[in-house]
Assembly symmetry: C2
């Protein structure tokens, strides 16, 4: 094992870059802008230039670099080819081939939610475990499945796309994916707001601090903590949908731990309480005692996971 | 790679034994009786004796044997320890340690449904694929999940326990596992009979060839093929429950192919038609074109998979 590696987390606006020691310490962290113009043709050359510059600035040699891990917001197949990344304005891009050509350094590429899962498994909320499912509750829902320390990319790059498990017949409007009744529609930040509106509409006489104003998922969880009865009912439903979905996934990979991250998880342990209640109700007996934890790496999960994938 | 390996499939009544070439040809197949008396203490010594005898009979040497793979009806952890196998009258048994001591040959152990999945992936209905989910529809439902050619044992030995995913609120009676509403309760051979009785009871005026007699799952599928309207409704419900469950699993490991085996699958391709219809409705778009196939190895799937696990 060489001394250093890079973990690169490519987002639609900025690219987070990390230089790591191969024993897992983040030595340097910086950001560059994601230039999406001209179908994003500048993105990989910009990253290669940043890496080459960092190597020069620190007086390193390429022989000391174990590899470059790079994650993107879109599906990546096992050969490191991106099939489509709307936020980067990319169609099909062979990330590994292009990066290796420009840097001379061995490269691996993966999906961003999968990178976050691997990062949390390595140094975050799931540290010390080798089998994990991570759920990132943001505007949408991302997910990643780690088995024996490796993240599952899937035959079509859709491994860990757990936001799109069907969980309810209650909805009529389609999900962004085209299906109807996805977990993302009821358990993401926007999903929680949807559930809340349904609760308030269907129970017009139930008092709630959420009534009569525009509110966010954070407002809902604040109301839960303040003892608001309607908010509690919303949280129960959120817990049912997410907990029962995780119980279904338990039958597949039987993880040691579930890690919940993303903006919604900032509400804290209260989220885990509602999810675990329903998980334990629906999970196969052998899996009921799996652990639950909040993510701890925040926005750095991606660079940690990207770095880990080359180790 | 050495020249030979053994695949041993331990059932509650008989133990199937196979001698394989390591390139995957079944050279010899025989059975011995499973002696469950005295808490099954004779089972592993009987297997070791059978293997040692076969090596002697064929004039082989232990240096030519790559390993012994052994599957049992119960959860097995990654160290090859059985936690509980009711049908063998076993509590905790360190299969790998005992077999290696008695034979001097490297041994691996796994769950029987997981072995069947690996066998079908290697030489059966899923041959040519590395990512697969297998469903065995028998009296109960067994399952196995293969990712990158390896079967997922799970943190608690419950990887692939897909018969116990929660699929319905329609039932009141508990599953053998203690939960209520498991896939096994509506899609196994006994589950199909349960669905059929519900269909006939809830639609007393619907004519059906199934009425007024004791029937099996095979009778239901025969009625489906004969155009029986009630049987078609039963098959639709079976397809909904199993197809939607597989679509949920697609979000986790995103397999290339689903292989359906077990006694129920003898009804043939008609089963796949009903399952695929609902799978395609509920699966994440990236996973919708996954393939479906019937298992082809029958009762030999276990010995094939057990052999593969040591290669």
């Amino acid at each position: 094992m060489k001394k250093y590696c890079f973990g690169i987390d490519v987002g639609g606006t900025t690219i987070k870059c990390g230089l790591f020691s191969t024993d897992g310490n983040l030595l340097d962290k910086w950001e560059i802008t994601t230039r999406t113009e001209e179908n994003g043709v500048h993105i990989l050359p910009d990253i290669a230039a940043a890496i080459n510059q960092k190597i020069e600035d620190r007086g390193l040699t390429k022989n000391e670099i174990e590899g470059i891990g790079l994650d993107i917001p879109g599906p990546v197949n096992e050969k490191g080819v991106c099939m489509l990344a709307v936020n980067l304005h990319w169609g099909q891009v062979n990330i590994v081939r292009e990066m290796e050509k420009m840097t001379g350094i061995r490269t691996k590429a993966l999906n961003d939610a999968n990178a976050a899962a691997l990062g949390e498994c390595w140094k975050g909320g799931g540290a010390g475990h080798k089998n994990l499912i991570m759920v990132t509750l943001g505007t949408g829902i991302g997910g990643g499945v780690v088995v024996e320390g490796k993240v599952i990319a899937g035959a079509h790059g859709s491994g860990g796309e757990i936001g799109h498990v069907h969980v309810t017949e209650e909805l009529n409007e389609p999900c962004n994916c085209g299906n109807v009744g996805c977990l993302e529609q009821v358990a993401s930040a926007t999903g929680i707001v949807r559930l809340a509106k349904m609760q308030l509409d269907q129970n017009p006489d139930q008092p709630s601090v959420l009534r009569g104003k525009a509110f966010t998922a954070k407002d809902v969880w604040d109301a839960v903590k303040a003892g608001d009865e309607a908010a509690d009912a919303i949280a129960e439903k959120f817990g049912l949908y997410l907990g029962r979905a995780l119980a279904a996934f338990a039958c597949v990979t039987d993880p040691e731990i579930y890690v919940i991250g993303g903006g919604v998880s900032k509400a804290g342990n209260v989220i885990l309480d509602y999810v675990q209640k329903y998980y334990r109700q629906y999970a196969f007996p052998g899996c009921k005692d799996a652990a639950f934890a909040l993510a701890t790496l925040g926005n750095d999960a991606g660079i940690y996971g990207a770095a880990k994938v080359v180790l």
